[in-house]
Amino acid sequence: MTRLLIVFAQEMRLATRNLWVLGATGLLALFALALGFLGASQGAQYDVDVLSLTAASLSTLSVYLIPLIALLMSYDALAGEVERGTLALTLATPIRRSELFLGKFLSQTVAVGVAIGFGFGIAGLAVGLVYGAGADGILAWLRLMGASVALGAVFVGLGLMLSAFAGRISTAAVFAIGLWLVLVVLYDLALLGGVIAAGDSVFTRQVFPWLVLANPADAFRIFNLAALDAAPVSGIDGLARTLPFPPAITLAVMLGWGLGALGLGIWRINRIVP
């Protein structure tokens, strides 16, 4: 257990030393503030407080941003150590390979979590102070922050898993960008195309909702939007709102992806030849 903590501490030190956490915090705060203050004028139209409204638009943006940050943070973690030769050193010590993997996973999740906590926290506070905030708005904001950390954790796990499979930094980068494109961008486009082509059919009513649910990024959206009945949404989110299952299932989906990534990653790191 303590070796895991030593890896954790070293990785935290690196993440803060490399200004990763600071940069991600600034980026998230910037986007959240922009959405809050630029979108505030629409609040009157929809009869919801600005914080809820911003939470809705921010959750749509977070689907793109948080997986990207998490993948950028993690893709290099194992492939880079293989290339630089430090993995051979670490694995020559009596550490278990699963401890190394989990130590890196925990520290990078905490780093992403800290960035989300500060970035969204600061922005939420500013929006709340300027426009006022009701209990609903605050709750929506906290839900968004919690779900964002969960989404970040899932993609840190996926990034580490890909890094373990890649073996080289350049390959890992390609894997990470590919995964982001597929899960965050192309998947939704393909589903939307399918729904439009299929019209009101068995696919749209029976298969589509499960396909949406199966993607961790979409699961994150559904979880957030389900609680925001009044806020305006469009595209796949509008369809997602009519899904025939309780929103809590989305958390189980994210948990499943996270555990799957960790399991596969640990399986793989045990087979790495440093």
Binding site: T2, R3, I6, Q10, R13, L14, R17, N18, R84, G85, T86, A88, L89, T90, L91, A92, T93, P94, I95, V273, P274
Partner: protein, 304 residues
């Protein structure tokens, strides 16, 4: 237990796909023994280390570290490793890097500073590794390899990039470790460098062990000829050549080859024809030629 080898390699072969990088290598390392592993680029030195670490699985043969399987917990506790190329995280300080390995090996925290002092990095302990010179990074790697109380040190080209003084310091540190009972297996490209610094030399060539023994024993087995060059007085070189044979060199000298035990006799005969001779130069086989001799063996075997 006392005289059981720390490292035992029996008939080890390692394959990369269809390429056999090591074939039938056997080598024992006794407690407190220092062995230099020599060989040309691509001979299989690093491959041997990685097999001992348990990273590469043998195609056949067996390796045991302190009686344990390579890569097992017991084996990893017993041995420390310095790879041939490492790049520590540039943003961390030397102290932070070392603290990490002290933690992973569960050594006392006080070792961090004492090891940095031992390798001459105490001054730079608080500086980022990114600002270190190549030699300083190599020293940090060595400090890392000394963490804990290893029974066996595996050092892959530990002196590459070190200046002559750092090199001497390095071998002093290794000698001190051996004095505490730690065995050392290090790889190098130069026989001169390790001459007086190790107990035994093993020479790998094309994945096969060509020699294993003390330098004296290797020289005896190789039986390389002594080269004697006799320079004639002006105009006497023909006479000298007709008397002793050998090969003519640059118009004024002849070169003779003889075995070590014939050397005195031959020199005596040369001295006796005093008026013919102006100078005598004796070249005993250099370490370089000894090394080449064992490396060439493999080549001759490969092309019969």
């Amino acid at each position: 237990m006392t005289d059981q080898p720390i490292l035992q390699i029996r008939d080890l072969s390692v394959d990369f796909a269809t390429f056999r990088a090591l074939s039938g290598v056997s080598l024992d390392v006794a407690p407190a023994e220092r062995i230099a592993l020599l060989g040309h680029n691509g001979a299989g030195k690093s491959t041997l280390f990685r097999a001992v670490l348990g990273f590469l699985k043998p195609a056949s043969g067996e390796v045991t570290v302190c009686g344990a399987r390579p890569g097992s917990h017991r084996a990893r506790v017993a041995l420390n490793y310095l790879p041939e190329s490492i790049a520590f995280p540039r943003a961390l300080t030397g102290q932070e890097v070392l603290r990490y390995f002290v933690g992973l090996r569960r050594a006392p925290r006080s070792e961090v500073m004492s090891l940095l002092e031992r390798v001459g990095l105490a001054e730079a302990a608080g500086r980022a590794v990114g600002t270190y010179s190549k030699g300083m990074r190599q020293r940090l790697g060595l400090a890392q390899a000394l963490v804990g109380a290893p029974r066996l040190l595996l050092l892959d080209e530990p002196t590459s990039g070190l200046d002559p003084i750092s090199r001497r310091d390095f071998y002093d540190i290794i000698a001190a470790a051996a004095g505490r009972g730690c065995s050392v297996l290090l790889s190098s490209h130069g026989l001169e460098e390790v001459e007086t610094r190790v107990d035994r030399v093993a020479i790998l060539s094309r994945g096969m062990l060509q020699a294993d023994g003390t330098l004296e024993a290797l020289a005896r087995n190789a039986a390389l000829p002594v080269r004697i060059r006799a320079t004639a007085q002006a105009g006497q070189v023909e006479a000298l050549h007709s008397r002793f044979g050998g090969t003519r060199v640059n118009g004024a000298s002849i070169e003779l080859l003889c075995q070590a035990d014939e050397k005195l006799d031959l020199m005596g005969r040369l001295m006796n024809c005093g008026p013919l001779i102006r100078d005598i130069d004796v070249q005993v086989p250099s370490l370089n030629s000894l090394y080449r001799h064992y490396s060439d063996l493999a080549e001759q075997e490969a092309q019969p």
